[in-house]
Amino acid sequence: MSDYAIEASGITKRYGSFVAVDRISLRVPAGTIFGFLGPNGAGKTTVIKILLGLITPDAAAVAIFGKDLFTRRNEIVRSVGAIVEAPVFFEYMTARENLHYLTRVSGPVTRLQIQDTLRTVGLEAVADKPVRTFSYGMKQRLGIAQALLPDNRLIFLDEPTNGLDPHGIMGIRRLLRQLRDERGITIFLSSHLLSEVEQVCDHVNIINHGATLREAVVADLGKGHERLEVQVAEADRGKATAALRSEGFELATDEPLADTTRLLLFRGGGEHLPAMARALVAAGVDILRLGKNHKTLEDIFVELTHDHVSDHGADRFRV
């Protein structure tokens, strides 16, 4: 049995001359939450559809739980659930009826199983109400319930917190952690929300324009992007920069702050802080602040995707 829920390589999909997905490779460890991160239109949904056998790639080798997707798709999908793009149901049916009819083609599903799953996603009280009366958040949760049944081991969630209020978002995140920790379910989570991936995922694959930019363990993602920050008065800027450069520190950014001070960011990890402090004191710089710069996944994402953005003109709000 493979340690990986998904092993895929060379996933390529073209629409005419447009390359939607360009040789993406993925390795998703079993029992983890895997974040698939990218801006809108990066190709995340296309990759998910390929991994679910909903669209045919131009090239790809995909194994799910060690089985070849293209020859054993129906066998694989027996233990795989998904929400793709948005949770879609038959609105005139109740939540329970939707689950009953949709899941029974996967295998025997008992009433108790449906009831338990509805309880897990917090929809037990509205199980017999038509889905048309549900809010978007409730539909998302019903989508997760549908993806879990009958006893799925891998679920794909495409932007599961889209359109949810903060309470709904927190509820979904809690549920995802619970599914991983208590039931050992592997979750493939696609999102353009960096905070979401940072908070719930164990691994991340960042894509843009159909190609992978970075794949890493979320905890390790900041490595190589560490910064040390020094806040000094405007008058001390030149002195501080010169002193630190002479000690071998490389200046990354130099930003003016609103209170006529400067924030200087140097490349390096926290272990260099004492040396940095000594150099600044020796140079007679008044240190207003000195410490590690906490770079978020958001910064890394912007840094990684910035050079690849080709539609600046069309999207004026891009960084």
């Binding site: 909903l54 038959f90 005139y92």
Partner: protein, 290 residues
């Protein structure tokens, strides 16, 4: 975990489709339309009878209508009025929405995410709509016979009036009551093949065009054009070349004796076309991106 066989999956999906048709009130809307047609038919016959009786210009017609209009006759007349026009319209719209409509709303994807072959999804839609067609025919039979039996008489000999347009044989004759019931059930049973042919045609078009409006308008427009050209005076020379020429197999049961050879011939063509439409539609759906 035991895996359901594809046959079980098809049965499960067909039940799902029937449940959806029921919850969307498609059965009741159809019955409402058929009821209106039946009442209009009844009113039309009564008006004609009243007019001819008072004018005394066409005594033979009054005699025929007085003697031979009964539940059986009336039910056949209502079937003739609905099976070529109203039922294809109902079936066309509902078939297109249950496939192309669900595809547009991504509901089809929700089903395709399950471990079921695409062709099984396609086939279950065909089976569900075929069951729905059978329901339409049974509803028409029950409703029209009940109305005819109530307002005219329950049974009796029936007068077959000039089926030339359909059978291409100029003939009018009286069919005794003993044979009339058999003909009634036979024409209804054969009409089911006509409707399943249309279900397959509309499903194929829904798989090809993927848009509900297109999947309704193109095949329905084509069907009605063929139907009207086939039945309009002076246009009959094109009849043999129209794709709809085989599907009205029920008309042969109205000849005396029944034209079994023609039923078998046209029935085979109808079944072959139905299978062809299903194969094309299933293939297209199987290779479509969802």
């Amino acid at each position: 975990m035991n895996s359901p066989t594809t046959m079980c999956q098809i049965m499960g999906l067909t039940a799902f489709e029937c449940r959806k048709l029921w919850l969307q009130k498609r059965f009741s809307y159809s019955v409402a339309v058929l009821t209106v047609t039946t009442i209009l038919g009844l009113t039309a016959i009564h008006l004609r009878l009243a007019k001819e009786s008072s004018a005394q210009t066409c005594a033979w017609l009054v005699e025929i209508m007085g003697k031979y209009v009964n539940g059986v006759n009336f039910s056949i007349a209502i079937l003739g009025a609905t099976v070529f026009t109203i039922m294809p319209m109902i079936i066309g719209i509902f078939t297109a929405t249950c496939f192309a409509g669900e595809q547009e709303l991504n509901q089809l994807r929700t089903i395709a995410l399950r471990p079921v072959p695409r062709w099984a999804i396609f086939l279950s839609k065909f089976l569900a709509m075929s069951i729905f067609s059978m329901f339409l025919l049974l509803a028409t039979l029950t409703l029209s016979y009940a109305v005819g039996a109530t307002f005219f008489r329950p049974s009796g000999d029936i007068f077959i009036w000039d089926p030339a347009m359909l059978v291409n044989k100029q003939q009018q004759f009286i069919l005794p009551e003993s044979k009339a019931w058999g003909r009634l059930f036979l024409i209804y049973a054969l009409s089911w093949f006509t409707l399943t042919y249309l279900v397959a045609l509309f499903l194929m078009c829904a798989a090809l065009f993927k848009k509900t409006a297109t999947a309704i308008i193109l095949p329905l427009g084509f069907y009605f054009s063929c139907y009207f050209i086939e039945t309009m005076p002076l246009m009959e020379l094109l009849k043999d070349f129209l794709p709809t020429r085989y599907i009205f197999i029920g008309k042969y049961s109205m000849a005396d004796p029944i034209l079994w050879g023609a039923i078998a011939h046209d029935g085979l063509f109808t079944l072959a076309f139905t299978a062809l439409f299903l194969a094309i539609g299933g293939f297209v759906f199987n290779s479509s991106d969802l």
